[in-house]
C-alpha cells in the first residue's frame, strides 16, 4: 500500500514487518526517529518485541549479539559516533556469524562534531564483515531492509547486514513509499531458524579463542561467503521483485549507461540528483550515465567492470575520504578498471554540504579534463590555510 511517510517511519515499519524479537538501540541524531517509531509500535501492542533502551551503542550492539545468538531475530540502528563506538562489537558480530540487521543513518564523524550527512561512518567499518547496502531513497531503504534479512539469514551466509541510509536526507525526508503487507513479508521472509544457537538441550560454546592455527580460516570463510552473497543478492532481488514488482534489490543499478560517454559512479541519495543532472545534460547533447553502487560489501567487481566496460570517462563521487589516500569507492573502482580509462575521484558532500546540480555539472566537466584521484569539490578557499589556497 502506498503511503506518504517520513523516511524514519517507513524504515521502522519495514523493520517491524520483519518481526524482530529483540530491538536494542541508543539515541543518536539522525537515527532517533527510527527507534522512536519502533518503541511506539511496541507500546501500542502492534509489535511483539523486547525493546532495550541501553546505556550506549556499545551495549546496543552487544545486546543484539546476545539475543541473536539465543536464536532471536534482532535489530539495531545507529549513526556516526554511535557506529564507531559499536566498532569492536560490529567486527565481533560478523566473526560470530550472527545475521543481525542494522540501519546506519549515515552521518559525518567528529572532529569537528557534525550531525549532518556523509558516509564516513559506514565506510570506516567496511572491513568488518558486514553486508553493506546503500539506499538511494526511502522506497529502496524499505526494500533493502526487508530483503536484507533474507540475504543475511540465508543458512549458507549467516552474516550481518547494514542498510545505509543518508542521514536527514532520507531519514527525515517525506516520500511516498509502497509498503508491503505483513502477509507478503511473512510469505517472503521465513521465521529465523539458525543452524546453531544457545540451547540448553544442545549446549555449545560461542566466541572461542582462535589461535594462529585457526584464525585465518575464519576470515577466509567470511571472504568466500561474501563471494556467494554476490550471487545471492540478485536471486533474492528477483524473489522480492516477484512479491512487490520492484527491481530495487540488486548489486548495482545502471541509469542511461548504454550509450554514455561519461559515467558517474556514486552511492546513496545523491544518485537521485545525479539522475536529474544526467537528464539535463542529455538535453544539451552530452551523453552522461550513472552507475549506482547498491552493494558496497560484498563489492560487486564484475558488475561494476561490466557496466563501465565501454565508457571512457568515469567520475566517482565519494561522500567519504580515506585521509592520506583517496575516496573509498574511487580507490576500489580504480583498482579494477583498465588503466586506459580516464577515471577521476571526487570527494563531495562531506559533513552535510549540499551536492547540488551545479556541483555535479562541475564534476562532469572536471572528469572530462585532467585526471585527478582526489578532487575535493565546492571548497571554500577562504577557510583554508594560505599555502593550500593556491592548489
Amino acid at each position: 500500500m502506498k503511503k506518504y511517510l517520513e523516511g524514519s517511519w517507513a524504515m521502522a515499519e519495514a523493520a517491524k514487518l520483519c518481526r524482530p524479537g529483540v530491538i536494542a538501540a541508543y539515541p543518536i541524531t539522525p537515527q532517533t526517529h527510527i527507534v522512536e517509531h519502533l518503541a511506539k509500535f511496541v507500546a501500542d501492542g502492534d509489535l511483539k518485541s523486547e525493546t532495550l533502551n541501553v546505556e550506549s551503542e556499545h551495549s546496543a550492539a552487544s545486546v543484539v549479539l546476545g539475543s541473536q545468538a539465543a536464536g532471536v531475530r534482532s535489530f539495531t540502528c545507529t549513526s556516526s559516533q554511535g557506529l564507531l563506538l559499536m566498532g569492536e562489537v560490529v567486527f565481533c558480530i560478523a566473526g560470530m556469524r550472527l545475521p543481525i540487521m542494522m540501519i546506519c543513518a549515515n552521518r559525518a564523524i567528529s572532529a569537528p562534531i557534525n550531525i549532518w550527512n556523509d558516509q564516513q561512518d559506514s565506510i570506516a567499518l567496511r572491513d568488518a564483515g558486514w553486508i553493506q547496502l546503500y539506499a538511494e531513497n526511502n522506497q529502496e531503504a524499505v526494500d533493502l531492509i526487508i530483503a536484507g534479512h533474507k540475504i543475511g539469514e540465508n543458512s549458507k551466509v549467516m552474516l550481518p547486514v547494514m542498510v545505509c541510509v543518508d542521514g536527514f536526507i532520507l531519514t527525515h525526508g517525506m516520500e511516498t513509499v509502497d509498503m508491503p503487507t505483513q502477509e507478503e513479508v511473512d510469505k517472503f521472509l521465513p521465521k529465523y531458524n539458525p543452524p546453531y544457537k544457545l540451547d540448553v538441550d544442545d549446549p555449545m560454546s560461542f566466541g572461542l579463542l582462535g589461535d594462529p592455527t585457526v584464525y585465518a580460516e575464519t576470515r577466509y570463510a567470511i571472504q568466500k561467503t561474501m563471494e556467494e552473497v554476490i550471487d545471492l543478492i540478485p536471486k533474492v532481488g528477483k524473489e522480492y521483485q516477484d512479491l512487490t514488482s520492484r527491481d530495487s534489490v540488486k548489486l548495482v543499478e545502471s541509469y542511461k549507461l548504454e550509450d554514455a560517454d561519461i559515467a558517474i559512479v556514486a552511492m546513496g541519495s545523491v544518485c537521485g540528483t545525479i539522475k536529474d543532472v544526467i537528464d539535463l545534460e542529455r538535453e544539451k547533447g552530452k551523453k552522461v550515465g550513472l552507475l549506482k553502487v547498491v552493494a558496497y560489501r560484498p563489492f560487486p567487481k564484475k558488475a561494476i567492470t561490466d557496466a563501465l566496460e565501454n565508457i571512457a570517462i568515469i567520475a566517482i563521487i565519494d561522500k567519504n575520504i580515506s585521509l592520506g589516500s583517496d575516496g573509498a569507492l574511487y580507490s576500489e573502482i580504480k583498482a579494477i578498471l583498465s588503466s586506459d580509462k580516464k577515471t577521476s575521484g571526487f570527494v563531495a558532500g562531506l559533513g552535510g554540504r549540499d551536492i547540488t546540480v551545479d556541483t555535479i555539472v562541475d564534476i562532469i566537466q572536471s572528469a572530462e579534463g585532467e585526471v585527478s584521484s582526489c578532487n575535493f569539490v565546492d571548497l571554500n578557499k577562504d577557510l583554508l590555510w594560505d599555502e593550500f589556497k593556491a592548489s
Binding site: 524479537g21 529483540v22 536494542a24 511483539k48 518485541s49 523486547e50 532495550l52 533502551n53 541501553v54 546505556e55 550506549s56 556499545h58 551495549s59 552487544s62 545486546v63 543484539v64 549479539l65 546476545g66 539475543s67 541473536q68 545468538a69 539465543a70 536464536g71 532471536v72 534482532s74 569492536e88 562489537v89 565481533c92 560470530m96 544457545l198 540451547d199 540448553v200 549446549p203 555449545m204 560454546s205 560461542f206 566466541g207 572461542l208 579463542l209 582462535g210 589461535d211 585457526v214
Partner: protein, 294 residues
C-alpha cells in the same frame, strides 16, 4: 570433551588454568550450583582464555563470549531473547567476568544491566588485578599490592589506592541482591548462587579468588589464603538486599593482617615495614567496624 564429562560437572578439567587457580575452582562451584538450565555470557579474560580455546570448551552449558567489557550487555540480550521465546522461567542467565571486566572497563554495561532490571546474575571473579595480561593494577587491586603497573620502588609501596567498592556500587542500584563470597568457602558460594538465582531481577556476586601467579603464592595454599582474607577482615563476606546490608559472615577473633600478607609475594615489601603494616591493618579494622564483622 564428550557429553559424559558434563554429567558430574558443568565445568570440567582439561582447561589450561594455572595450578591452584581460585577462579577456576569458583567457576565450577558456581555452575554446578546454577545447574544445566543456565546460559553464560563471559567477558574476555583469563577464564575465557583457559577454558575455551578452539575447538575445545570446558563448559557443559550454553556459553558465549565476545568482548572484554560487554558480558553484562550480551547477557542482557540473551535474557531478552529468552523472554521473547517465553523461556525465561526455566532458564537462568549468568554473566561472568574478572575484576577488570567488571568494575573497570565493564562498569557501564553492568550499571545499564542493573538499572534495566534484567534477570541476570553477574558473577565477578575478583583476583584483584589484570592477570591475563600480566598482573597489571585494576580498580580492584588492594592497598599496597605490588603489581607490574603499581610496582614497589624507592618512591612506592605498591598500589596507593583501596579497592573499588563494587558490591556497594551494585547495591546502590537497589537491586534485589548484591553479595561477596570467597573461594575459601565453597558452601557459601553455592548458597549465594542458589539464593541469587531464586530471585527474579538483577543480582551481583563478587567472589574473591586467589591467583597464585599474580599474587606470588603457593598454589597448594589457594583455599587457605582465601580464608585468611576473610578471617583478617580484609575481604568481608556481606549480603545486600535492595540496597540494605542484611547479612555478614562474622569473624569472632580477627587475625592480624600480617598472617594474610605473608602468604603472598605481592605484599612481601610490607612485612618489615611496621608503619605500612599498620596502614593495611587499619583497612581491615575499618571493614570490621563498618560491616559489624565481630
Amino acid at each position: 570433551m564428550t557429553k559424559k564429562h558434563f554429567e558430574e560437572n558443568l565445568y570440567v578439567s582439561g582447561h589450561t588454568a594455572c595450578a591452584g587457580c581460585g577462579q577456576s575452582m569458583a567457576v565450577r562451584i558456581v555452575l554446578n550450583a546454577a545447574g544445566k538450565n543456565t546460559m553464560v555470557a563471559n567477558s574476555t579474560g583469563c577464564l575465557e582464555v583457559f577454558s575455551t580455546k578452539a575447538p575445545e570448551t570446558a563448559f557443559g552449558v550454553p556459553w558465549i563470549h565476545s568482548l572484554f567489557e560487554n558480558s553484562a550487555a550480551v547477557a542482557s540480550g540473551v535474557e531478552a531473547g529468552l523472554k521473547h521465546l517465553n523461556k525465561l522461567d526455566e532458564i537462568r542467565v549468568i554473566s561472568q567476568a574478572g575484576d577488570g571486566g567488571t568494575g573497570d572497563i565493564g562498569l557501564q554495561a553492568i550499571s545499564g544491566m542493573l538499572e534495566r532490571g534484567q534477570d541476570v546474575l553477574f558473577v565477578c571473579y575478583d583476583n584483584e588485578a589484570y592477570m591475563n595480561t600480566g598482573i597489571q593494577r585494576s580498580g580492584s587491586t588492594p592497598f599496597y599490592a605490588n603489581t607490574t603497573t603499581s610496582p614497589v620502588g624507592k618512591e612506592s609501596l605498591g598500589n596507593p589506592r583501596p579497592k573499588k567498592p563494587m558490591v556497594e556500587i551494585c547495591a546502590a542500584h537497589h537491586i534485589p541482591y548484591s553479595a561477596t563470597a570467597s573461594a575459601g568457602n565453597p558452601k557459601d558460594i553455592e548458597r549465594k548462587v542458589k539464593k541469587a538465582l531464586s530471585i527474579r531481577g538483577p543480582k551481583y556476586l563478587q567472589i574473591h579468588v586467589p591467583c597464585p601467579l599474580g599474587w606470588k603464592s603457593d598454589p597448594a595454599q589457594t583455599i587457605e589464603i582465601a580464608k585468611l582474607a576473610v578471617s583478617t577482615g580484609l575481604y568481608p563476606l556481606i549480603e545486600y538486599e535492595y540496597g540494605k546490608l542484611i547479612k555478614v559472615t562474622k569473624i569472632a577473633s580477627p587475625k592480624p593482617v600480617e598472617e594474610y600478607l605473608k602468604t603472598q609475594g605481592r605484599f612481601k615489601h610490607l612485612l618489615k615495614n611496621n608503619e605500612a603494616l599498620q596502614e593495611v591493618q587499619e583497612v581491615a579494622n575499618k571493614n570490621i567496624e563498618y560491616y559489624g564483622l565481630k
